[in-house]
Amino acid sequence: MRRRVLLVGLAIWSLTPLALLAVVSVAGGWRFPTLLGDDPGLAAWRSLGGGALGHATSTSLALGIGTGVGAAAVGLLAGRALARERGGPRTLGLIFAFLPVATPPLLLGIGLQFTFLRLGLGGTAAGVWLAHLVPAIGYTTLYFVAVFTSWDFGIERAARQLGATRRQTLVRVIAPLLRRPLAEAALLGFLVSWAQVPLTLLVGQGRVRSLTIEVLSLVQAGQDGLAAAGALVLLLPPLLLIALATWGVREAEVVVA
């Protein structure tokens, strides 16, 4: 009985914020004291097809995909190099790799903004993409360190000893084994970029309007309906990630069974 009460409490705690966002996004004006809205409709959602919210969604998607791909590629190389070694330099290397993850994005942005301006990247999507890559590469590097720490490098040696060239070993042995970790690292990089706020604001100088920046502006302007619709769109990729991860775990369980 007590565990069932706990379950109900958890459902209220975890789902109420999401349910409320859904209600406010279709409320058509959510003035006090109404609970469900003054003029329910899909006006806020229609703005996603075009207008600022739609444009911001496209910008965020492009930045996220670019960051995911770039961070997965660089993280793979860095993580592999770090995982192959042992001892003091490796520990220090890992601490260094942890720094972009641990440094708050606001502080990173403040430190980097001038350099980006000097390089002509301030206020550009390319600059924001490069800025997003900084923490994303930190995350994917640490992810690939974990992958390669339990990696059997003997497989590569065996392929080479059996006559495979370096390229054949890469394409036929390593790449198929890394397909899944690469996809997961790309998703990780995508999510890091997708949720960025201060880095985008500082390096993008308000000219690069990602979905997070748009939602922040809308909520500060009191446009609750539009902000809630934008916030719900921000939820979609993370929820997709949970679905994929759950599917991946089930698939692994099937393979093990």
Binding site: L10, L20, A81, A97, G138
Partner: protein
């Protein structure tokens, strides 16, 4: 040291290079060497002036307090949930799924939802009005932009409990069960098992993740900008305010504050490394 043995160091340094560039720039700008507000002469005294100012002190203490309370409460709730939901029955499965649901949701979304729920005219105020507990938004106790940081703490709990729950559940599954079973066979009561085996295992396992959560919360800007009070300002907001100050002579203050934030993060990184190593060292000693 050979070139090969230095390779991981070089790789780690390359990954962290933008942080070094950023910190280097902030260090120079904080003493007026370059950047907006740089004068003819260097001003190292700015460091002392900014760090010793009551505004910085109050802001730092407020931020550390909110971060500490949020992290501590998150860890305690996560540990309790991990213990309560460890059984593989239907309640356990649904409970675990609900507990981790907020994990991948961006902090900005959590802050927007918290504003809509806890704000003066938010969902709680509407429910209180419908129940006749208040007659208008003005009678609702302030839960956002409040000096106590209640709203910010609740939003952070919603976001951080799932992460710590995941870690706690994983610690219990990998390290806890065998030790608990051994204690039971040796005659320990359920209370003794909880007090002497489960809890020590959990807190040691949760410590590194808690340090990571604390660091994140200290630097969190998007939650603070929507939920934190204007007096005192949270450290990230104070840094931001100085950075965009129309008085150019005050802008270098932002770099001093940024370096303060980076220092807190650096201390946390070292604490994280130590916390990660401690269980292994303990195991080594026990052997």
């Amino acid at each position: 040291m050979t070139r090969r043995s230095l390779r991981p160091l070089a790789v780690g340094a390359a990954v962290a290079a933008p942080v070094f560039v950023g910190v280097g720039y902030a260090a120079g700008a904080s003493i007026g060497m370059w950047g907006v507000g740089a004068g003819d002469a260097l001003d190292p005294r700015r460091f002392v002036r900014v760090l010793a100012s009551p505004v910085t002190l109050e802001s730092t203490l407020w931020t550390l307090r909110v971060a500490f309370i949020s992290t501590l409460l998150s860890a305690v709730v996560a540990a309790a949930l991990a213990i309560a939901l460890r059984r593989a029955d239907r309640v356990g499965r649904w409970g675990r799924a609900l507990a981790v649901l907020p994990l991948p949701i961006p902090h900005l979304v959590a802050a927007v939802a918290a504003l809509l729920i806890l704000g003066q005219s938010g969902l709680l105020a509407r429910v209180a009005f419908a129940l006749g507990a208040i007659s208008g938004p003005a009678e609702m106790p302030p839960l956002v932009f409040d000096r106590g940081g209640v709203g910010m703490t609740i939003a952070l709990l919603w976001k951080e409990i799932p992460f710590l729950f995941l870690v706690a559940a994983s610690v219990l599954a990998t390290r806890g069960e065998a030790l608990e079973e051994a204690a039971r066979r040796l005659g320990a009561s359920e209370w003794d098992v909880l007090r002497r085996v489960t809890w020590p295992t959990l807190w040691r396992g949760l410590l590194p993740a808690s340090v990571a959560v604390f660091t994140f919360v200290v630097g969190s800007w998007e939650v603070a900008v929507l939920l934190a009070p204007s007096d005192p300002l949270a450290l990230p907001l104070l840094t931001w305010e100085r950075y965009i100050d129309s008085d150019l002579s005050r802008r270098p203050d932002a770099f001093v504050l940024a370096l303060l934030g980076v220092s807190i993060a650096a201390v946390a990184v070292v604490a994280h490394e130590l916390a990660t190593r401690r269980p292994a060292d303990t195991r080594g000693t026990a052997r």
